[in-house]
Amino acid sequence: MPAGRDTGVTVMGKVVPPVPEVHRVPDVQPASHVLLDGVSKRYGTVDILREVCVDVPARRRVGLIGVNGAGKTTLLRILAGLASPDSGAVRLVEEGGATRPLTSRDLALVPQAKPLFPVLTAAEHLALAAGMNRGCWDGDLPQRWLRDFGVPADRPAGRLSGGERSQLAIALALGRQVPVLLMDEPFAELDPLARDDATTALAEHVTRSGRTLLVSSHVIADVERLCDRIVVLTHGRVVLSGDTGDLLAGPGERSLSDVVLPVLRSHREAR
């Protein structure tokens, strides 16, 4: 059991007190360190990713930032096994140091488009996911997530708002008891209040459950609230990566925007 399970954990500099048993993830996930080693991907004549090396340490919350077309979604699709790299490899380093390829059994994905079945209700989506993930499904967590964010369980997904669809997609990912969570702009359609609450709740959940999170976002404030490490991509290359604490330690850098925006601007001007 990791330290802090019973004594509270630190999220964004604040100590979160222990939560009641009902709010706990039943099993703390095994530590899983994800490595992208020299991954390249080309669509037609366009290089989407160029020998990308990304390190997603176990039990960390890593934010993926980049301009449009930087390759964030392709990177997440390769990690999820939906696309294969032209070169390079994706590996999972398990507790104890054993290395093996990352597979769909190790991860849950929130795709960018939040694809759902329009005729099924939120409750039916959860039931379907539970049926497809027997033995690695936590039925309580996604239901609680939907309830906390006011998503009606009995309304077909086709009649949910964009924000409600996003919350359902996040809930479906959280329900899978897997060590790695991949999220592609999960908060893009949320209102400011829901966005703030969701990032805080997600950070707390990931920290408590010991999962590894890689989340992409265009909103640097979201990444700052949620993540403890960032990777910045431009034009298929990693141009900056590091722990947020280290990046914010410099003089005059009060927020991640102060660090990330100059890097993005300099690479845009260099092209």
Binding site: A80, G81, L82, S104, L107
Partner: protein, 219 residues
């Protein structure tokens, strides 16, 4: 029925789909009545290929819609392999399509006077296998397999519908003109069984190739 089964049924057999397939069976039943009472011989058999077209349209558009809406991304990041996903997503439809084919086969057997009672009565004369009804079932199974292949290949609903319908119509035309010369030494009934078995084998091959291709491609 469990919530999971109900959800899967609603996904694969929504009202429009079930209605379309049921309408074909009822329509063929009415045609059979017309054929028996008005001496319009051969009407059911000559129109049987339309149900195959309906089956191909149904299956190809359902599979293509998974790609178009992106729900396949969700499906393939669950605890399922790609082949298992393909099976999971299509089996209720395939069962329904096969049942519709069996219904059509039954109608054909009836209008050809090979009713179950006849078959039992003439068991010793090997009449059990007479009739062209096995072709109706095999045609639909092959059409459904082609529908899955076209849906996975095109990944778009409208092209999937157009291509699958065109392929099944072309195959149906080729088969109807070539069946006589495919097995000239056999009776109509024996040829129907041989060609039907060939079609089912071809369907299995198409499905295996589709699953193999799906494993290797980006989603």
């Amino acid at each position: 029925m469990s919530t999971v089964r109900r959800a899967q049924s609603r996904l694969s057999l929504d009202r429009s789909v079930a209605g379309m397939m049921a309408a074909t069976v009822v329509g063929y039943g009415l045609l059979a009545g017309e054929e028996l009472t008005s001496h319009k011989a051969g009407m059911v058999t000559s129109l049987a290929s339309y149900q195959s077209i309906v089956a191909a349209l149904l299956v190809s558009t359902t599979v293509a819609k998974e790609f178009e809406t992106g729900t396949i991304q969700w499906g393939l990041t669950q605890r399922l392999s790609r082949g298992a996903w393909l099976w999971w997503r299509t089996w209720p439809m395939l069962v329904f399509v096969a049942l519709a084919g069996a219904g059509l086969g039954g109608v054909m057997a009836y209008v050809e006077r090979h009713t179950p009672a006849d078959m039992v009565a003439y068991l010793d004369r090997a009449q059990l296998v007479n009739g062209r009804w096995p072709l109706a079932v095999a045609d639909i199974v092959l059409a459904a397999a082609i529908g899955i292949l076209v849906g996975v290949t095109t990944r778009r609903v409208v092209p999937a519908a157009a291509i699958s319908a065109a392929v099944v119509i072309a195959l149906s035309y080729a088969a109807s003109t070539g069946r006589g010369s495919l097995a000239p030494g056999l009776s109509v009934a024996s040829a129907a069984w041989c060609i039907g078995a060939g079609e089912v084998l071809a369907a299995a091959l198409v499905l295996a190739l589709t699953a193999r291709g799906l494993r290797r491609r980006d989603i």
